[in-house]
């Protein structure tokens, strides 16, 4: 466990750790601004490859903001600015010469509400590969593979040309996951992916995450502590400071955060004293 204390203290040198630890995504001292308002302050996070890292904290603590920086979704909001570094395999994704399109291809995203395109089930999953210009044959293989990976194939294989909007909420969210998987990302960002789902559909998504982490690196934002405890390998606890900017208070293996928090504020939150 000394490793993790070190990592937090010295995020600048994650590569010095034991060989089996591979840091996929490494955010260092990230600040984020909406115009003059600072929404994130000095946030750092080292995301391990093929693990699930959860961001928890009360609403407004900047966890979604933090997540959206990892694939530069904040570019879409005018007047925003991020400083610091977010290294993906050693490349700083915040640098201006980064290829945003390719970054987003490698760092996929699943949203709070299922947002399938108003197209057929097939076309939803095929959209990303289609943009990448892959062959028809390749695309149809990938669609099937992605739908199988998300457990949807058996449910929808007979109605691939039907509108995706006819699916149930849980199916839609899994379709969105399949859509994200179809472009072969390495990291998947999930922004409260189960917040609009019923418990059974939520369970389904959580099971999938365990399956997917064998091949993908997952970062999930959740307001649900139980969910974080259930699914994640590592947890970062975030909180708003006195100037309303979000900070990472504590980061470590989920087990430690929930059972042996080092910071009293984490303990207060975990035990339900605020939030």
């Amino acid at each position: 466990m000394m490793t993790w204390a070190n990592m937090q203290a010295d995020v600048a040198a994650p590569t010095t750790h034991e060989a089996e630890i591979e840091i996929k995504l490494d955010a260092r001292h990230v600040n984020f601004f909406y115009g003059d308002f600072q929404a994130l302050q000095d946030a750092s996070l080292a995301v391990q490859a093929r693990k699930i890292t959860a961001l928890i904290g009360p609403s407004g603590c900047g966890k979604t903001t933090f997540l959206r920086i990892f694939n530069r979704m904040h570019d879409l909001t005018p007047g925003t600015r991020a400083t610091g570094e977010v290294l993906l395999d050693g490349h700083n994704v915040l640098s201006p010469d980064i290829d945003v399109i390719n970054l987003r291809r490698q760092v996929g995203m699943l949203f709070q509400r299922a947002n399938p395109f108003p197209k057929s089930i097939y076309d939803n999953v095929a959209y990303g590969p289609h943009i990448l210009g892959w062959s028809k044959q390749q695309i149809s293989e990938i669609v099937e593979e992605s739908l199988k990976d998300t457990g949807l194939w058996e449910e929808v294989k007979d109605r691939l040309q039907r509108s995706a909007l006819n699916l149930s909420g849980g199916q839609q969210q899994r379709l969105c996951l399949a859509r994200a998987l179809a472009v072969k990302p390495e990291v998947i960002l999930m922004d409260e992916p189960a917040s609009a789902l019923d418990p059974i559909a939520t369970l389904r998504i959580e099971e999938l995450m365990q399956e997917l982490k064998k091949r993908y690196t997952i970062v999930i934002v959740t307001h649900n502590m139980q969910q974080s405890a259930r699914v994640s390998d590592f947890t970062a606890f975030m909180l708003m400071n006195e100037r309303r900017a979000g900070e990472v208070i504590e980061f470590g293996p989920t087990d430690d955060i929930f059972n042996r928090p080092k910071d009293s504020r984490t303990e207060d939150y975990i035990t339900g004293r605020f939030g």
Binding site: N71, M73, L76, P78, I101, N102, L103, R104, R105, Q106, G108, M109, F111, Q112, R113, N115, F117, P118, K119, Y127, G128, I131, L132, C176, R179, A180, A182, V183
Partner: protein, 279 residues
């Protein structure tokens, strides 16, 4: 009489007034449509109404073939100009227009919406008729296109703005460039509203008369060359109504009925299309 009773009676009276005003508002529609139907139907069913051009005054028979072709062609060319262009401006307003240019375009479009339709006729006349030295169908199409533009672009903007932001983000998060997400995801998602706007604009253009007086002028012969003067149903109604021949007046009623039917069908198509898309 007690004070309460007065108040209750006053309340009843106001309610009665409100119901009366609704009746008064609804009566013109019913009366109008009834008359157009009764007076227009015989003329419409007369042989040759749809298939032959007008006969000279005094020769019985004749139809409005020239005007049907004219209305379709003038509105058709106008739509070809206005719909793609207006849609593109609508896309600009919704996707890139949260700035001064966007606000200016919105303001200008609102001003254009409020202009009297005759102003579009003057525009078409000055820009195309006066410069080419003769009246033409295409000048009418251009005038109507400018008249349709604000309807198309505001409908497009409204429809696009209603597409959830997360749909754009989902597309971009797949590594799609923004323009492809706009064309392949956002516009299809808003297609119902865009098509409705275009159809409503076409319906409005088909019913316009004043702009045509200055541009297409009218033509009793069947003309398909867009550079020549051309007839139109609205012009037939206007001109024939004022002529002192009862058979031509009957034709005006029939042409009016046909015009109303065309406008109504376009409107119904718009509604049906939206319903089909929403399903």
């Amino acid at each position: 009489m007690s004070r309460l009773l007065t108040r209750v009676l006053l309340d009843r009276f106001v309610s009665a007034l409100i119901v009366l005003s609704v009746m008064l508002a609804a009566i013109p529609v019913l009366v109008l449509l009834l008359f157009v139907l009764i007076k227009g139907l015989p003329g419409m069913l007369a042989p040759g109404f749809f298939t032959s051009p007008p006969h000279p005054v005094g020769v019985p028979g004749g139809g409005v073939f020239n005007a049907i072709i004219g209305t379709l062609e003038i509105v058709g060319i106008g739509s070809l100009l206005a719909v793609p262009f207006g849609t593109l401006v609508g896309i600009f307003l919704s996707e890139y227009g949260r700035n001064r240019i966007g606000d200016t375009v919105r303001f200008v479009s609102d001003v254009l919406t409020g202009l009297p339709s005759i102003a579009f006729g003057i525009f078409g006349y000055t820009v195309l008729v006066a410069t080419l030295h003769h009246f033409s169908a295409v000048s009418a199409s251009v005038a109507l296109a400018v008249l349709m533009l604000p309807v198309v672009l505001r409908a497009t903007e409204t429809a696009l703005v209603l597409v959830p932001q997360s749909m754009r983000e989902a597309g971009l998060a797949l590594g799609a460039p923004r323009w492809r997400v706009t064309i392949e995801v956002i516009v299809p998602a808003a297609l119902g509203g865009i098509v409705t706007g275009a159809l409503l604009a076409m319906a409005r253009a088909a019913g316009e008369t004043a702009p045509l007086l200055f541009t297409a002028l009218g033509n009793d012969f069947t003309q398909v060359d867009p550079l020549q003067p051309m007839g139109a149903l609205a012009l037939t109604v206007f001109k024939n109504a004022l002529l002192p021949y009862s058979d031509l007046q009957d034709q005006a009623w029939a042409a009016a009925l046909l015009l109303v039917l065309m406008v109504a069908v376009t409107n119904i198509l718009a509604r049906v299309y939206v319903r089909r898309i929403q399903r």
